[in-house]
């Protein structure tokens, strides 16, 4: 392996050539703050928070855009670096509402976390604020420009990864805004509601709509596989009080942090009042609720009867492309082993 030797915070390391300093540091457990970096995207270097000091290199350098070099001596948390980060955070929070009490993202907000870590309170320069703009035209999520820190992750994900290009930047400088063309709102754009922008928003600017109120710290997460198409995206179900309240894509899986509108947002069927909660049997032509015991009895006695009267091949079963491998295995085992027939097929040719 082609490596370089360098010093980070006083310790010697050997790191693969071409690695960016940010990645190198994260690999060895040094936490450098960043708001705009995403391993999947071309580095943008826009938030400037990941800057580090390199001895002999003059000004500060962003770790996300600087590659490791032989003999580098890096300080990730020197006084100069910490001061710069504090000043940058001060600038950001100065142009950000202080409504953490009611913000849905409180507890999962990078700006909040970093301001806390670096000791920034309400911001020194709370003068002119960015122009307010609110887009609530999408059924699954909202956009609040006043909370946007212009890290650009949403725009870059929509472009570089999702390829939809529904959103972009409008204007320039202090007037810059993330927006849809002509500010006509997401519903009038090419947006496909995949929510991949929402998944990367580090603050509360892009916010999923949830049927249930929750605080981020009340949430439990469970890694699972999406149940829609055959791509099998990995995702984390966010749950509170035995209810799914949100979905986050897995970044360390083959879907690389991407989901589609169904995987990201269509989970409310789980708690829909139409769900079947009791077995039903047909009595006098209508389906009525019953106990498991009765339902099982009806089925097994009919099974025994049918087998006796018409033989094993009078059974047929359709197994499910929607159920788990274990469910499917059990289904065909029941047919083959218990009922003695190979009349098992599935509807998945459709």
């Amino acid at each position: 392996m082609n490596t370089v030797k360098l010093t980070i915070n006083g310790k010697q390391y050997e790191i693969e050539k071409g690695t960016f300093v940010l990645k190198a540091c994260s690999d060895i457990g040094i936490d450098i703050p960043t708001m705009c970096h995403d391993e999947r995207l071309v580095p943008s270097g826009s938030c400037r928070l990941c800057q580090v000091e390199v001895e002999g290199w003059g000004k500060l350098h962003t770790a996300c855009t600087t590659q490791v070099k032989e003999g580098m001596v890096i300080h990730t948390h020197s006084e100069k670096v910490v001061k710069a980060r504090q000043d940058l955070l001060d600038m950001l929070i100065s142009n950000h509402p202080l409504d953490c009490l009611t913000c849905e993202s409180a507890g999962a907000c990078k700006l909040q976390d970093l301001c806390y870590e670096y000791g920034i309170t309400e911001g020194t320069y709370r003068w002119e604020m960015s122009k307010p703009y609110y887009d609530d035209t999408n059924p699954f999520y909202t956009f609040d420009a006043s909370k946007c820190i212009l890290c650009g992750l949403c725009v870059r994900v929509c472009d570089e990864l999702q390829g939809t290009n529904a959103i972009g930047f409008e204007n320039r400088g202090f007037e810059t805004l993330v927006a849809t063309p002509f500010g006509e709102g997401l519903e009038n754009s090419t947006c496909v509601s995949c929510g991949n922008c929402v998944s990367v928003c580090p603050v509360g600017a892009l916010e999923p709509r949830s049927k249930m109120k929750f605080r981020q710290w009340e949430i439990e997460t469970t890694r699972t596989t999406c149940s829609y198409c055959g791509v099998g995206c990995q995702m984390d179900l966010k749950t509170k009080n035995n209810r799914v309240v949100g979905v986050e894509p897995a970044f360390d899986a083959h879907n690389e942090g991407l989901l589609c509108v169904k995987g990201k947002f269509s989970y409310n069927f789980l708690s829909h009042p139409d769900r079947l909660t009791m077995p039903l049997v047909r009595k006098d032509g209508v389906l009525v609720e019953t106990t498991w015991d009765e339902a099982y009895n009806v089925i097994t006695s009919k099974m025994k009867q049918t087998k006796e009267d018409f033989g094993s091949d009078s059974f047929a079963g359709l197994t499910s492309a929607r159920c788990t491998n274990e469910d499917n295995y059990m289904f065909q085992k029941m047919f083959r082993s218990t009922l003695g027939t190979n009349n098992v097929d599935h509807c998945a040719r459709l």
Binding site: N165, A166, G168, R172, F182, S189
Partner: protein, 161 residues
């Protein structure tokens, strides 16, 4: 300001513009020249034409919109018949260009970046136009007025009314 882009009225220009777009297909970096041409031909960037550019050149609308709002020379509203540009470059500024701009604004009753109701004038504060040695300078369309004083404004504007 409400206005509508009249496709019928601009029929010929549209045809010519489509030809231009055709010539830009498969050339590298066609967006800026296309927007410049549209701004030139129509006096502003009509939304309909941006949609055409998007379609013809296969560039996402969000990207076009982002570019169109980034550069100060592009506008989504028509400019007046006469474009008054007041240079606010350093040389002009130290020689009182700001007060010249204010004078023009007050005479026309609009602010920089706006167009008069009768669409005769619009004002733009220009970055250095490169005529620093004859500062302060204003331009009306392509006419350059050198060493302008506040009291000259009435006379200059009258020429274009």
């Amino acid at each position: 300001m409400e206005f509508k882009f009249d496709k019928e009225e601009n029929k010929e220009q549209i045809v010519a513009f489509m030809e231009f777009l055709d010539s830009k297909k498969n050339t590298p970096g066609p967006l800026m020249p296309s927007l410049q041409r549209a701004q030139d031909v129509f006096g502003f960037l009509p939304k309909e034409m941006l949609e055409t550019i998007s379609k013809e050149l296969s560039i996402p609308m969000a990207e076009i919109y982002g570019v169109a709002t980034f550069y100060s020379q592009f506008s989504f509203v028509p400019t007046g018949k006469n474009k008054v540009s007041v240079c606010l470059g350093t040389a002009c500024y130290v020689k009182g260009a700001q007060s010249i701009l204010e004078e023009i604004e007050s005479q026309l009753g609009i602010e920089s970046g706006e167009t008069t109701v009768d669409e005769v004038f619009s004002i733009a504060a220009a970055r250095c136009v490169g005529d620093c040695s004859i500062a302060p300078v204003i331009l009306v369309n392509e006419d350059v007025y050198a060493k302008v004083k506040k009291e000259d404004i009435t006379e200059i504007l009258a020429k274009y009314n």
